[in-house]
Amino acid sequence: MTESIKDKVAIIGVGCSQFGERWESGIDDLIKEAVVEACGDAGLGVNDVQAMWVGTALGSQPAGIPTAIVVSQALQTQGIPVTRVENACASGQESVRGAAYAVASGAYDIVMAIGVDKMKDMGFGGLPGGAPGKFEPVYGAFGSGPGRYAMAATAYFSKYGIAFDEGKRILAEISVKSHYYGAMNPKAHLRRAVTVEDVMNAPMIAWPLGLFDCCGVTDGAAAVIMVPASQAKNYKKDYVTIKGIGLSAGNGWGKENIDYDFTYWDATRWAARQAYDQAGITDPRKDLDFLELHDCFSIAELIATESMFMCEPGGFKKEFTDTRAYYHDGAMPINCSGGLKSFGHPIGASGCRETYEICRQIQGKVERARQIKDARIGLSHNQGGHPGRFVCGVIIYGAP
């Protein structure tokens, strides 16, 4: 018999490093920064933690194959289990998932999930992916994140008959919101507010996506400490519990499948349904208070919102852009942290960083200007891959 993870696991401590181009900090500094804050939040020491999961895509690259050792070395843990998990840009949430189920199984009482990536030791801008030809000698050798997400923007405009300028404006409004919140979030990477005109006139990165449609390349780490919900009160009054965990690895052949049109995220739909079922959510628009979505690109936030069943496919403009429902005082606040777009996206860190934001929103601890009123239940969406080839995690967190 399967049972839902709802209210079985509690988060008693969260931490997040300063995000940005951390020239002065290595991966160990970033890990330490996030973990120290999380331990302080929980009132625990590192050595109280019985097991750790670390989500990192690059780890200590270019030095070598990333392993859990990056964490045990940085923290000098004393022989406890540390597991490295990797699901591309969804690695952070995968660490939360692994740690949460370990607690739910009864194997451990105190566990920690860490998400981290040190992106800026590569010597070039952009995402350090595999070398062209590394994974496939010729097929898709020159695909890039921006190039592949941009195909979804073109497809979305085309399917819904949206003129180019109008489409760019819908996307620009999303980025303006991200920067608006990022600007007031002290740990965010990109802290300058921008206007719709700034976004629309920015240089192209991958047509039709311009500079401000794309997240930056960021260093950072975040950490989450979990205990069985039954013991949470011993550590913290305002703990947060996990309501549902969904994870979906798509079949990966969307780009190649004649039936896929690039305007929805299939893995997001599947993962959301799993999480909604576990959390007992029947009407996500009513039952959820706010969302932290994986918005590596403006179009990613738009399509993720629709694929979360927050509105009909094609309905984003009417439901969110025109109504401003996605602002912190709107009907369904989205990415009031600044999102990946403005807060930053160190690949493996983002899933844990979303957890950090959601817990602090629920605890009423964020800057007043972006504090969501009556935030009791929030959703974290973390995906890796690209349109047609996604792995996606959805975790719902709420007040107990």
Binding site: G125, K134, P137, G140, A153, F262
Partner: protein
């Protein structure tokens, strides 16, 4: 009767104009020449021409493939075998590279004819292609052109080859040493007086005499010319009526080396009619001449060459030409170097080279690359039939243009194209005019050099706007 069954020509989409060259080097330059895209070489252009030549022809009837070029992409490693795979020819095809002389394509034609005549094979595909590098700031820069031709030789000829004449000569006019990038030449007056004129004349008069004909019996004459002026002078030297002489394409395509004389023959055949008698003569290390007759079996096979000639993009800056021809060293990036894996390519050869896809017996969908389970209905591989999709036309579903991708000619355009027969291909888009890309436009597949990771030429399929569709015009 033995002779030519079908034919096809290919001209790459880019043109370098005299205006652009003149802005850099001064002087007075006019006309245009064809320039291979950065992802093309003689091998890929040969595939293009051969695909035109094989339109409407069962590829399994091809018994031999002879690839002629002075610019084969490998010094050691055959090109013909890669071309044969890209053309999805039988695995027992006799493949051969004929090289080192711009006359090698007509030599290959001669060999093909002899083999067919002997009865040991029924059909042989002859391909000629060249993309010779012209020394910058030389007259050759606008004289040379890039292009390819292909002819299917067989016993059921539409154009019979009635007679031929061949000479071999130790005469040296233009050459490249083992490691030379650019050609070297002796004085042009010597080349004309002692090489080009007497050798070509001897072959032409030889074949005319052997065929008991006079030049007046010829409908069309196609002959090689190193440059426009020499070609013009040769008309006089041969005593020909200029109207009978096929346009040598200087100022439009340029001297395509190994492909040059045969490209004139393709153009002649595109405008031929039954009963025409055509003379073809080629030069280089001697000379070849052939007399041909357009028979009752002749059918119009389309105007591929003139269509490719019309379909063009002007290279706007000399810098882009320099880049395409790899004539300068550029900044290297700190990004990881290009990689490849020959063992992986070997495992995946059925779809990497042959463009085979899987068609599901259960749900009818065609999928590329080939799969272990149907990507739509999850049926096992045993229910997936291998089908070739390289000739399928498609419609552009969506695309993007990545300005920052580490490609030779940014932006890197990615696209999903829905192909005829319920199939889809995701690939890079090449030969594209960015301003003309549009969702819904007709697309086609093309075999290209993707990258040179680990010092290996890595070939694969890309898509491009259909160069010969009505919309393209």
């Amino acid at each position: 009767m033995e002779g030519i069954v079908s034919w096809g020509g290919y001209i790459p989409i880019y043109r370098l104009s005299g205006d652009v060259v003149q802005k850099v080097w001064g002087g007075r330059m006019k006309g245009e020449r064809a320039v291979a895209n950065y992802d093309e070489d003689s091998l890929t252009m040969g595939v293009e021409a051969a695909r035109v030549c094989l339109e409407g022809i069962d590829r399994n009837t091809v018994d031999a493939l002879y690839f002629a070029s002075t610019t084969a992409p490998y010094r050691e490693k055959q090109s013909a075998s890669i071309i044969a795979a890209a053309l999805d020819l039988r695995e027992d095809v006799i493949a051969m590279d004929v090289c080192n002389s711009i006359r090698s394509a007509t030599t290959a034609l001669c060999i093909a004819l002899q083999c067919v005549k002997s009865g040991s094979i029924k059909r042989a595909l002859v391909i000629g292609a060249d993309c010779r590098l012209a020394p910058p700031n030389s007259d050759l820069e606008l004289t040379f052109g890039d292009g390819a031709v292909a002819f299917l030789v067989g016993s059921d000829a539409a154009v019979t080859i009635d007679g031929s004449y061949h000479t071999s000569s130790e005469f040296i006019d233009i050459w490249r040493l083992e490691n030379d990038v650019l050609p070297k030449r002796w004085e042009d007056r010597f080349i004309n007086d002692e090489g080009y004129v007497p050798h070509l004349k001897k072959a032409v008069s030889g074949v005319v005499k052997a065929s008991n004909l006079s030049v007046n019996d010829l409908t069309k004459v196609c002959f090689y010319g190193p440059d426009e002026r020499s070609h013009k002078n040769m008309i006089k030297a041969l005593g020909l009526d200029a109207i009978k002489v096929q346009d040598p394409l200087f100022g439009k395509v340029g001297n395509t080396g190994t492909a040059s004389a045969l490209m004139m023959l393709v153009a002649a055949l595109e405008g031929a009619k039954k009963g025409d008698r055509i003379l073809l003569s080629n030069y280089g290390d001697g000379a070849d001449a052939f007399v041909m007759t357009v028979t009752d079996k002749f059918k119009f096979r389309g105007n591929s060459l003139s269509e490719f000639m019309e379909s063009k993009i002007l290279i706007e800056t000399y810098g882009k030409y320099i880049k395409f021809k790899r004539l300068m060293e550029f900044e290297t990036t700190t990004e990881s170097p290009l990689r490849t894996s020959l063992s992986q390519i070997w495992r995946e050869r059925r779809w990497v080279f042959r463009c085979h896809a899987h068609k599901c017996q259960k749900c009818g969908r065609t999928q590329f690359p080939m799969q272990k389970f149907c990507m739509n209905c999850q049926a096992d591989e045993k229910f997936l039939d291998e089908v070739n999709i390289s000739d399928r036309k498609g419609i552009l579903l969506t695309y993007s243009a990545d300005e920052r991708a580490p490609v030779m000619d940014p932006p890197n355009v990615l696209a999903a194209v829905n192909l005829e027969g319920n199939a889809r291909i995701f690939s890079q888009v090449t030969d594209r005019d960015l301003s003309k890309l549009k969702v819904g436009m007709p697309m086609e597949l093309t075999f290209r050099r993707i990258h040179d990771g680990l010092g290996v030429h890595n070939y694969f399929w890309k898509c491009r706007p259909d160069r010969r569709s009505k919309e393209a015009k």
